[in-house]
């Protein structure tokens, strides 16, 4: 059934969906009570797709409102609840989970050469916790919403807002346990379930990224939990921890909140780095450049990210000394990210580059993430931040990284591993079109916002000064293009499930243990436990390729 080819990879014959994890039980019960990491990944995929479109819908209304200076929606009340909903849903119910719970859950055991994660039942529990948290949050949103912004600053959220703050905080609190469970499972699995012969330095970069991510999830999320708990108690019982009138401090909330939320943004982007680090070697048919630097870059990002939270507070009333310290640490954390970009370029150098859709998304990631990351240098510069913070400049900065970066990586990974997950090939032409439209729509939406921010337009504004209208209209036009770029994959990916060409075990000719088993894999992942004898990305070198013709 398998043959060893000249470059050492093992080819597996084309096998249908029969005998795979997809057909191993057809009842609803077999899906809802599964402990198979692959099925749980699909349960999560359905959930986060739904949340993505809910958050996206809110964004569409936000951009619609901003077409005219006085606010098209007519009511600031509604607008404030919309941008809060957009932030809450996108941050906690899309960006934080996206790659880890779908691609991570699906691929970690496969990449490790294991048959499942360390704690499969905990994995299933994490999905239920996620759904419960999401349900409670959506209840808050549809019962009238929250109008404090996703950052819940006190005392607005504790003493003045008349919206469903506690309900939303509860939903997020519950989803935090899902995060912790996932991160815990990942860390333990990577430590304990590696296949024989797979040393740490033989693991693909994706696993190092998810390991670093796991550390962040496990250590940062509990701080969010206590923050939300104190927020709820303050709001309900007026305990006064954040109330200056009885000796509390509203800045304490900001410190607590950002202590989680800064690592959170690295939770969001690290898996994206991991995905791109898998796609680039595969589509350059070349070993990744500087493997050790890249993997230790992920680890150092995870560590340093705990020490930069104060850069969200440069004008908040903190001391000069803390501001200076946080600024230099923020520059330090940017260095490993920069290294990754150079290493990806180094991987492509002298490679054999193909332009399939996953590669187009990965290239889009490199471009857009670099822009977003560079603008991070602007806001890390203290005096520049004083001018740029709280304006659309920051909005553009983080959307370039989160949407331009993370969402591109998510789509890239989804396309790259789609054959493995579903056993089908997606239609290549449509996918390339979608990638291109996404890149164009994205830049049109968010680049004008850098300019708006420099000119002074504040964020979270329902209405704005008329001189900002042209740039706002451009941005909203871009948003409509971006929206169509997201709807396209929804269409053709679903189409491919029914009519797509069947995939072989390794349609891309990529390295990695996940490609050494059938597409889609059987429930137990591997027929025999693989034994690893070489490092990752063992593509043939150009010399050997040219020798063999």
């Amino acid at each position: 059934m398998s043959a060893v080819t000249a470059d050492g990879t093992v080819a597996v014959e084309k096998s249908g969906i029969e005998g795979s994890y997809l057909t191993d039980g057809y009842t609803l019960r077999s899906w809802l009570l599964t402990t198979d990491h692959k099925r749980i990944a699909l349960l999560y995929l359905a959930a986060i797709t739904m949340f993505f479109f809910i958050g996206g819908f809110a964004a569409a209304l936000v951009r619609l409102n901003l077409i005219v200076p006085q606010g098209l929606l007519g009511s600031a009340e509604t607008y404030n609840r919309l941008f809060t909903m957009h932030g809450v849903v996108m941050v906690w119910f899309f960006l934080v989970p996206a790659v880890p719970v779908t691609l991570g859950n699906f691929l970690i055991p496969l990449m490790l050469g294991a048959r499942d994660l360390a704690f499969p039942r905990l994995n299933l529990l994490s999905w239920y916790l996620f759904m419960l948290g999401g349900a409670v949050t959506l209840w808050a949103l549809f019962a009238g919403g929250v109008d404090t912004g996703w950052t819940f600053y006190t005392p607005l959220s504790t003493m003045y807002s008349k919206s469903h703050v506690v309900l939303a905080a509860t939903g997020i609190f519950i989803s935090g346990f899902s995060s912790i469970a996932t991160g815990l499972n990942f860390i333990v699995s990577i430590h304990r379930l590696r296949a024989p012969g797979m040393t740490w330095y033989r693991m693909p970069v994706f696993l190092w990224s998810l390991y670093s991510l796991g550390v962040l999830m496990v250590l940062a999320t509990p701080v969010l939990a206590i923050t939300l708990l104190l927020l709820a108690l303050e709001r309900v019982f007026h305990i006064g921890v954040f109330d200056p009138a009885i000796g509390g401090d509203p800045l304490l909330f900001q410190h607590l909140f950002w202590f989680y939320s800064h690592p959170a943004v690295y939770i969001m982007i690290l898996p994206g780095f991991g995905v791109v680090s898998e796609i680039i070697p595969a589509f350059s048919r070349k070993r990744i450049f500087g493997y050790k630097f890249i993997v230790w870059a992920s680890v150092s990002i995870a560590v340093i990210s705990f020490f930069v939270w104060g850069h969200h507070m440069f004008v908040a009333g903190t001391s000069l000394y803390s501001a200076v310290l946080f600024s230099i640490l923020s520059y330090l954390v940017a260095v490993p990210s920069a290294i990754k970009v150079f290493n990806w370029l180094g991987t492509m150098h002298k490679g054999f580059i193909r332009f399939d859709a996953p590669m187009l998304y990965a290239l889009g990631f490199i471009g857009l993430f670099t822009i977003g990351g560079l603008t991070g240098l602007w806001v890390a510069a203290l005096a520049a931040d004083v001018h740029l913070t709280q304006t659309y400049f920051v909005v553009a900065h983080f959307h370039y990284i989160m949407v331009g970066g993370m969402v591109s990586a998510f789509f890239g990974g989804l396309h790259f591993w789609w054959p493995k997950i579903t056993g089908r090939l997606y239609p290549e032409m449509w996918a390339r079109v979608a990638a291109l439209v996404m890149f164009i729509g994205f830049n049109l939406t968010f680049f004008p916002q850098f300019i708006l921010g420099y000119l002074g337009m504040p964020r979270r504004y329902f209405s704005y000064a008329p001189e900002f209208q042209v740039l706002n209209v451009l941005s909203s036009a871009g948003a409509s293009i971006l929206a169509s770029a997201y709807l396209l994959p929804l269409g053709y990916l679903v189409w491919s499930l029914l009519y797509g060409e069947r995939a072989t075990g390794n349609p891309w000719g990529a390295t990695g243990l996940e490609w050494q088993t059938a597409s889609p894999p059987p429930t137990a992942n591997f027929v025999e436990t693989p034994v690893v004898t070489q490092g990752p990305y063992h593509y043939p070198t150009p010399e050997s390729m040219q020798l063999h013709g």
Binding site: L184, V223, I239, G240, V241, G247
Partner: protein
């Protein structure tokens, strides 16, 4: 009888799985450190700006109950550890006895804390939202904040204790069904780690609540 032990299909051996379960619990406890740690940091931060008030509040706490509870909880961890040693040696009956004693001590802790101490605190108007809060005047704000942290931390700790009690009952049930042996007693170890951790949290809370500021 648990004479043959099988591991789940993703593990290479029963030992592999047992060690992994324990690693998982340690990691979970790390998250709890960050959870309680965040609260304790807020406590320290708030105290820094309200020290006289906090100390005034601390002087109102019932030192004898806190100290007795500390002794009870530390003893309960010791007893459980003895139970673990017994099951390693094959004596499940003694394990069950130790677990029952630990359970009793845990319930005694909860009874003293919530049945007696909190009741006294409410009766003495120490609940921060009480309109007749015991300490008035300049120190009132700080004292109220102290009691905010007191009630939140003891409530959270108590919640963890209740979960621990549930876990103990689960262990006792499984032990009585003969599921543990020298070859397999991973759940006993894992619950032991959890119980000891809850104990350690109390050991940190005890001086924060009862000792700091008392001597002023």
């Amino acid at each position: 009888m648990a004479s043959t032990v099988r591991q789940d299909f993703q593990y290479a051996s029963p030992t592999h799985q047992a060690e992994t379960a324990i690693a998982g619990m340690w990691l979970f406890l790390a998250t709890e450190v960050l959870f309680f740690g965040g609260l304790i940091l807020c406590w320290i931060y708030s105290r820094h700006f309200n020290a006289p008030g906090f100390d005034a509040g601390a002087r109102q706490t019932a030192l004898w109950i806190g100290t007795l509870n500390t002794a009870i909880l530390v003893t309960s961890s010791l007893v459980y550890a003895i139970g673990l040693a017994f099951v390693r040696a094959g004596d499940t009956r003694r394990l069950i006895q130790c677990c029952l004693l630990t359970l009793a001590l845990g319930i005694a802790f909860l009874g003293l804390k919530f049945g007696l101490e909190w009741r006294l605190d409410f009766a003495h108007h120490l609940f921060p939202a009480d309109p007749y809060f015991w300490i008035a005047g300049s120190l009132s704000g700080g004292a109220r904040l102290f009691f905010v942290f007191y009630f939140i931390s003891t409530a959270l700790h108590g919640l963890h204790m209740v979960i621990g009690v549930g876990l103990l009952l689960w262990i006792i049930r499984r032990a009585r069904r003969g599921e543990f042996s020298p070859l397999y007693h991973t759940p006993v170890q894992v619950v032991g780690l959890y119980w000891s951790f809850v104990d350690v949290v109390w050991i940190i809370l005890y001086p924060l609540i009862y000792l700091v500021g008392r001597g002023q």
